[in-house]
């Protein structure tokens, strides 16, 4: 008997091998097993035989959309800044996507970071990825030497212990509240699509914070970012952070100081989150990448929620829909505007 993920792995290898063999793609972006348990590494297969190293399981937490532009770029002939792009079609890349990654790619396409024609998208409906930190916590942070994954449980082994864990219990928070597990754009699908999910309290975590009073929220925010060491792993993991010079590194203008001063850290998180407003799909890569366990997803998810509430917008669902901050409606809500200067608006 094969598990679902094992079946998918077999399919992935087959598809990748075929694409590379036919020359339809010059590279295939997927995952391979890391050197320690519960760590999957993004992997680029460039030759047919590389396809055998591709793998799929519940630990594919890093967002492949983040690596895609780089892989595409690596296949282009080098050219000087003002040189026109070469004639003719450029080499293609095959890539695995789940719901959120595909939506990131939709954003990337809108923002000219990738060209749809150069990507062969292989869709997989996400069953939710596992939060390694949750597993670790369940075994009292003892060293884990092996994890065997079944469809609904994980068997975790370490020195002197074996533990069976219900898989859903350790799935990442963002995956638990995800209603779009199926890819929105794809060329081929592996496995079955779910047709979408229902989640009872999708923004329950945000609501909880909103229900606090203002000082409690400030307290929460302060504590949440207190441990931040400004390593920028969250930024680096994010498929939406692709500025050549990040605002945190820029000195002209210097919006944020480079120290780990608490104001600078706060400004970093505020601005990072705001840069993702209307773009972030809640893929959770940032949180998964964070070595300090900071839940910065709560910041971006708040903006996600507000975009939905104010403008009925969810990022990356439709390829022909403008991003919310690049468009407007005459009747957009403006109840936050001081009433004094109000005139003539029907509201």
């Amino acid at each position: 008997m094969f598990t679902i993920n094992e079946k998918i792995t077999v399919e992935i290898r087959k598809v990748a091998r075929d694409l590379l063999k036919k020359g339809e793609v010059s590279a295939f972006l997927g995952y391979t097993k890391g050197t320690v348990p519960m760590v999957m590494k993004p992997f680029v297969a460039r030759r047919q035989e590389d396809a055998e190293r591709l793998s799929w399981n519940s630990f594919c937490v890093l967002n492949l959309a983040n690596y895609l532009p780089l892989v595409l770029k690596s296949l282009e002939p080098p050219r000087r800044p003002n040189e026109p792009p070469p004639e003719g079609p450029l080499p293609k890349v095959g890539v695995l996507v789940t719901g959120c990654w595909s939506r990131n790619m939709v954003v990337q396409i809108k923002e000219n970071q990738i060209e749809r024609e150069r990507v062969k998208i292989i869709g997989i409906s996400s069953r939710g990825m596992v939060d390694r930190k949750k597993v670790q916590a369940l075994v009292d942070n003892n060293e884990i030497t092996e994890v065997i994954e079944e469809d609904h449980k994980l068997i975790v082994k370490g020195h002197g212990f074996t533990r069976e864990i219900n898989r859903w219990d350790v799935v990442r928070d963002n995956c638990k509240s995800c209603v779009h597990p199926d890819p929105v754009i794809y060329d081929e699908v592996i496995g079955d699509l779910s047709g979408g999910r229902q989640v009872p309290k999708r923004f329950g975590d945000i609501q909880e914070i909103e229900d606090m009073d203002i000082e409690e929220r400030w307290q929460w925010f302060q504590e949440e970012i207190l441990s931040c060491i400004r390593c920028y792993a969250c930024r680096n993991a994010c498929p939406l952070c692709y500025c050549p010079t990040c605002f945190v590194d820029d000195s002209r203008p210097q919006w944020v100081g480079k120290s780990i001063d608490k104001t600078d850290t706060a400004l970093f998180h505020i601005l990072r989150a705001f840069h993702c407003a209307g773009r972030c799909t809640d893929c959770g890569a940032c949180e998964s990448a964070c070595p300090m366990g900071i839940r910065m997803r709560l910041f971006t998810k708040k903006l996600y929620k507000d975009c939905m509430e104010l403008y009925g917008f969810e990022p990356g669902l439709k390829i022909d829909e403008p991003l919310p901050l690049t468009t407007f409606k005459l009747e957009d809500p403006q109840d936050y505007i001081l009433q004094q200067g109000q005139k003539g608006e029907e509201k």
């Binding site: 000082e215 400030w218 400004l267």
Partner: protein, 149 residues
């Protein structure tokens, strides 16, 4: 956080005003001699659409007790649509700041036209009052710390 504040403490409020409507409205307040507290420091920008969250954060970081952003009324923008983009940006940003615990009255947005001198003075008074009620800002103010931590 109840502490006694000086009665005549004047907050410092940075106001980003668009050149065409709100800055002109502030001029008109002057021409009409509408008096308001001396708390507002006006930074003239071409359009409310020119104002980014970064600029608001910069003001708070540098010690502003309050921020006011004002542009033309929706539909009146000298640059056609700048204030509409601004309206979305600030709606999200203001909600976000409140989410992380910045008092709603710290950061204020409004529309003031070139003919609304009185309204400008009124807004200046009102915003000053709101900020005074909150007291000096501390939350996002960068403190100059000694070299050793």
């Amino acid at each position: 956080m109840e502490e006694k504040r000086e009665e005549n403490w004047q907050p410092k409020i940075v106001a980003f005003l668009c050149n065409w409507c709100s800055y002109a409205g502030a001029d008109l307040a002057g021409v009409s001699r509408y008096q308001y507290p001396p708390s507002i420091r006006i930074v003239r920008v071409p359009c409310s659409g020119r104002v980014s969250p970064n600029m608001i954060l910069d003001a708070l970081r540098s010690g502003a007790d309050g921020v006011l952003v004002s542009g033309c009324h929706p539909g009146d923008c000298h640059y056609i649509s700048g204030n509409f983009y601004a309206r979305r940006r600030f709606a999200l940003f203001k909600r976000f700041l409140e989410f992380i615990g910045i008092e709603p009255d710290r950061v204020n947005f409004t529309w003031i036209s070139a003919s609304e001198g009185e309204q400008f003075a009124q807004v200046a008074r009102e915003v000053t009052e709101r900020v005074k009620r909150l007291g000096p800002a501390r939350k996002l103010v960068k403190e100059i710390e000694p070299c050793s931590r």
